[in-house]
C-alpha cells in the first residue's frame, strides 16, 4: 500500500484532537484531510483515491452511527475507524456490524489507530481494484454484438459448439467464429477465464 496515493479523512470537532491525529498520520507519511463536522466533509469534493475515514463525534450515539449509515446509503464506500471518548459495548457492536473497521476508545494507542487506518486503506484499495476490473469487463462486454452475447451465454452455460449451433440454427463453423471473437473481445485466455468474467458481470448486474 503506497500512502502517497491514498488519503485519510478526519472528522473531529475538537481542533486539538484533530491536529494531533493529523500530525500522527503525517509522521508516518499519510496524506490527511480533516474536517470539523460531517457536514463540512460531505460538502467537500472527494478526490478519486483510496481513502479511509477517522470519525470522532462528541457523544457519538446516534449521530455517529447515523452518519455511517448515511455514507453507505449514498454509495460512498468509505472504511470508517471510530474514535470516541466514551463508547459503550452496544455502540461499538452496532458500529462494527454496520461495517466499521475499528472502534477505538480515547485515549488510544497510536499503533492501534495506524493499523486500523492501514487496514482501511487496503480495503479501500481492494475495493477500487475490484470496481476498476468490473468497469473494464463491462466495457469489453459492451463491444460484443448481440449474436456474440447469445453465443457467450451458451458457452459459459457449458453447451458444446454443436449444441449451440442447433440452439441458434447456425452452422457449427459460424458458432466457432463467434466464439473466438468473444474470447478475443473479452480478453479471456481460456474457457474458465470467460466463465469467471461472466460470473463477475452477473454478480455486478444482480447487485445493482
Amino acid at each position: 500500500m503506497n500512502p502517497d496515493h491514498s488519503l485519510v479523512f478526519i472528522i473531529d470537532d475538537d481542533p486539538s484532537m484533530r491536529a494531533s491525529i493529523e500530525s500522527l498520520l503525517r509522521s508516518v507519511g499519510h496524506s490527511v484531510k480533516s474536517f470539523a463536522s460531517t457536514q463540512d466533509f460531505m460538502r467537500d469534493e472527494q478526490p478519486d483515491v483510496p481513502a479511509c475515514l477517522i470519525l470522532d463525534i462528541r457523544f457519538p450515539g446516534q449521530s455517529g452511527l447515523e452518519f455511517q449509515r448515511e455514507l453507505v446509503k449514498s454509495g460512498l464506500h468509505l472504511p470508517i475507524v471510530f474514535v470516541t471518548g466514551h463508547g459503550d459495548v452496544p455502540m461499538s457492536v452496532a458500529a462494527m456490524k454496520a461495517g466499521a473497521i475499528e472502534f477505538l476508545n480515547k485515549p488510544f494507542r497510536d499503533q492501534d489507530l495506524l493499523d486500523a487506518v492501514h487496514r482501511g486503506l487496503e480495503m479501500s484499495q481492494d475495493r477500487r481494484a475490484e470496481e476498476a476490473m468490473l468497469a473494464e469487463l463491462s466495457r469489453r462486454f459492451e463491444t460484443l454484438s448481440s449474436r456474440e452475447r447469445e453465443v457467450m451465454a451458451l458457452v459459459v452455460a457449458g453447451r458444446l459448439n454443436k449444441q449451440i449451433a442447433a440452439d441458434l440454427s447456425l452452422s457449427e463453423v459460424t458458432v466457432k467464429v463467434h466464439r473466438s471473437q468473444v474470447m478475443r473481445k473479452m480478453g479471456a485466455n481460456s474457457l474458465p477465464d470467460l466463465v469467471r468474467f461472466a460470473d463477475r458481470l452477473a454478480c455486478a448486474t444482480t447487485k445493482s
Binding site: 484532537m17 494531533s20 500530525s23 466514551h86 485515549p107 488510544f108 497510536d110
Partner: protein, 539 residues
C-alpha cells in the same frame, strides 16, 4: 433508646392538634353528660341481657389495649408501661365475673344466682384497681434509664405478669364468690347502692384525681394526654353511677356503662391512629428516600460523565500528540518543527485540562449566576415551601416572622438559597432526637442597623456542645454521623462573599440560633464589593 427518635405512643410529644382533639373529646363527653343528667333516674327494665354484650366489648377492648401496651413494653423496657398494661389486663379480666354475677344475669346463662354483694365487690376491685395502675404508671414513667430492667427480661416478666394477673383475678373472684356473707354491705337491694358504696366511689374518684394530677405535671407523650382523658371519663362514669343514677339499670347507670366503654377504648383508638399515622409516615419516607436517591444518582451520573468527558478529551489529545511527536523525532531525518508543534499542543491541552478542573471546582464553590437584587423574605419562603415534606416528616412546626419592609440585597440567589436550605436542614437534624418537647423551627427576618438585613434560623434541638461551638465553621468538622463537615463552612464563605456575617448563638431554653447579615442593595458596603469584584468564594 436515647438516640433513636422512635415514633411510639410513649415517645411522641403532644402536638397542638392532639391537645385540641383531647379537649374536644372531653367537652363532647361532658355535653353528653349534661344531656343525660335529667333522665338519669329513669329506670330501664329487663336490660340485663345487654350487660353480657357490654362486658364482652369491654373485655375485648381492654385485652387488646393490654396486648398493645405489652408490645410497647417489649420494645421500650419500661416498668411504667408494664404497670399500665397490667392495669388494663386486670380490669379486662375482672369484667367477666362482674357481668356473670350481676343480679338477673346468671339466670340468663343457666347459673345459680350469687350473693347480693358479689357484683358490687368485684366492681369495687375494678374501680379501685384501674386508677391505681394508672397512678403507678404516672409515678414510674419519670424513672431514668438506670431504673430500667436489663435487656432480655421482657419475655419472662411479660409472661410472669400476665400469669400473675390472671391468677390474682381468679383468686379474688373465688374469694368474693365464696364469702358473700362477710363482704361489706355495698348494696341495699339488687338495684340500690348503700352508703358504703359512696365511700368506694369517693376513693376511686380520689385515686383518679391523684392520677390526673401526677399525669398533668409529668405529661410528655400522647399516651399521657389520652390517659388524662381516660381518667376524666372514668371520673364522669363514677359520678354518674354513684351520685346521678337511681341505681342499677337506670338511664344514668347505663350512661355510666357507656362512659366506661369509652374510657376503655380511648387508648386503643390512640394506638390505632398512631399506627395509621406511623404507617403513612413510613410510606412517605420510603418514597421520599427513593426519590432523593434517584435524583442524587442521576445528578452524580451526569456529573461524573461530564467530568470524565471533559478531562478525557484533552487527555486523549495529549497522548496522541506525544505519540506523533515521538514519531516525528524517530524519523531518519527528525522533523523538529513538527515535534515542536506537537509539544506546543500538549502544553495547550494541559492548560485546557487545568481549566476544566478549575471549572468543576467553581461549580461546587460558587454559583454560576450573576448578582441580582434579591428579596430575602421571598427566598426564605421558597426554600421553606420546597422543604415542606421534610419538615412534615420530621414533625417540626414552623414559625416565621418576616419584616415585610425588608430592603432588597444584592447577591446570587442560588447561593443564598443553598445557605438558607442548609441552615434549615441543620435545624431539622438538630431536633431529630427531641421527643420531650415540641420541635420548633423559627425563621425571622429583620432590619439590622440601618443598612443590613438580619436572618435568624432557630431550632429547639439539642443545641451545640461548648467544645464544638468554636469549630463548627471549620472545614471537615461535623457533629453528624454522616456529615461531610462542609455545610456551615460553605454557608459562611457565601455570606462573607456577600459582605455579611454568619454566627451562632444559643437558643432559650433549648437549641441553637444561626444568624446572618447581608448589607442591603444600596448600602455602601455592597457598592464597594461590586467595584472590587470580590464576589468569588474562597475555595
Amino acid at each position: 433508646m436515647g438516640q433513636d427518635p422512635l415514633f411510639l405512643l410513649t415517645k411522641t410529644p403532644i402536638s397542638r392538634g392532639q391537645w385540641r382533639l383531647a379537649v374536644g373529646v372531653l367537652v363532647a363527653l361532658l355535653a353528653a353528660l349534661l344531656v343525660t343528667a335529667p333522665f338519669a333516674q329513669v329506670p330501664l327494665e329487663n336490660t340485663e341481657g345487654l350487660l353480657l354484650v357490654y362486658a364482652t366489648a369491654v373485655f375485648i377492648v381492654e385485652l387488646i389495649t393490654a396486648a398493645l401496651l405489652l408490645a410497647l413494653v417489649s420494645v421500650q423496657r419500661s416498668l411504667a408501661v408494664l404497670a399500665l398494661s397490667i392495669g388494663y389486663l386486670f380490669s379486662g379480666v375482672m369484667v367477666l365475673p362482674w357481668a356473670v354475677s350481676f343480679p338477673g344475669v346468671p339466670a340468663l346463662v343457666n347459673l345459680s344466682e350469687t350473693g347480693l354483694q358479689t357484683t358490687a365487690a368485684i366492681a369495687m376491685i375494678r374501680r379501685l384497681g384501674f386508677p391505681l395502675f394508672v397512678l403507678a404508671y404516672a409515678l414510674l414513667k419519670e424513672s431514668g434509664p438506670n431504673a430500667r430492667p436489663p435487656k432480655g427480661w421482657q419475655q419472662n416478666i411479660i409472661f410472669g405478669s400476665v400469669t400473675g394477673v390472671v391468677v390474682i383475678a381468679c383468686g379474688l373472684t373465688w374469694l368474693v364468690f365464696t364469702n358473700d356473707d362477710t363482704l361489706p354491705r355495698f348494696m341495699q337491694d339488687a338495684q340500690k347502692v348503700s352508703a358504703v358504696w359512696n365511700f368506694v366511689a369517693a376513693t376511686a374518684a380520689g385515686l383518679s384525681v391523684a392520677g390526673l394530677a401526677v399525669l398533668w405535671t409529668r405529661q410528655r407523650s400522647v399516651l399521657d394526654l389520652w390517659l388524662m382523658v381516660v381518667l376524666c371519663t372514668f371520673l364522669i362514669e363514677i359520678c354518674l353511677l354513684a351520685y346521678l343514677s337511681s341505681g342499677r339499670l337506670s338511664v344514668g347507670w347505663w350512661a355510666g356503662r357507656v362512659y366506661g366503654l369509652i374510657s376503655s377504648s380511648i387508648v386503643l383508638f390512640a394506638f390505632l391512629s398512631e399506627t395509621v399515622s406511623n404507617y403513612t409516615r413510613l410510606a412517605h419516607s420510603v418514597s421520599a428516600e427513593r426519590r432523593a436517591r434517584e435524583a442524587r444518582l442521576t445528578a452524580m451520573e451526569a456529573l461524573s460523565a461530564s467530568i470524565a468527558h471533559e478531562i478525557n478529551q484533552p487527555l486523549a489529545s495529549i497522548v496522541t500528540n506525544a505519540d506523533a511527536g515521538l514519531r516525528w523525532l524517530a524519523r531518519s531525518d527528525p522533523d523538529l518543527s513538527e515535534a515542536r508543534a506537537a509539544l506546543t499542543r500538549i502544553v495547550n491541552d494541559g492548560h485546557r485540562s487545568a481549566e476544566v478542573i478549575k471549572g468543576i471546582r467553581a461549580m461546587f464553590t460558587e454559583g454560576t449566576q450573576d448578582r441580582v437584587p434579591v428579596d430575602a423574605n421571598r427566598l426564605i419562603k421558597e426554600v421553606l415551601n420546597r422543604s415542606l415534606s421534610e419538615v412534615k416528616l420530621a414533625r417540626v412546626s414552623i414559625r416565621t416572622e418576616f419584616d415585610e419592609r425588608l430592603p432588597l440585597v444584592t447577591g446570587c440567589p442560588v447561593q443564598l438559597e443553598q445557605v438558607i436550605s442548609n441552615l434549615i436542614a441543620n435545624a431539622i437534624d438538630a431536633m431529630s432526637t427531641i421527643t420531650d418537647r415540641e420541635r420548633v423551627l423559627r425563621i425571622t427576618s429583620a432590619l439590622h442597623g440601618t443598612d443590613e438585613i438580619l436572618v435568624s434560623v432557630e431550632d429547639s434541638g439539642t443545641g451545640m456542645a461548648p467544645n464544638s461551638k468554636g469549630r463548627i465553621f471549620e472545614p471537615f468538622f461535623t457533629t453528624k454521623p454522616d456529615g461531610m463537615g462542609m455545610g456551615l463552612m460553605f454557608c459562611r464563605s457565601v455570606i462573607e462573599a456577600h459582605g455579611g456575617r454568619l454566627w451562632m448563638s444559643d437558643n432559650e431554653p433549648n437549641g441553637a440560633i444561626f444568624h446572618f447579615t447581608i448589607p442591603s442593595a444600596n448600602s455602601p458596603a455592597t457598592i464597594n464589593l461590586t467595584h472590587d469584584h470580590r464576589w468569588k468564594v474562597a475555595p
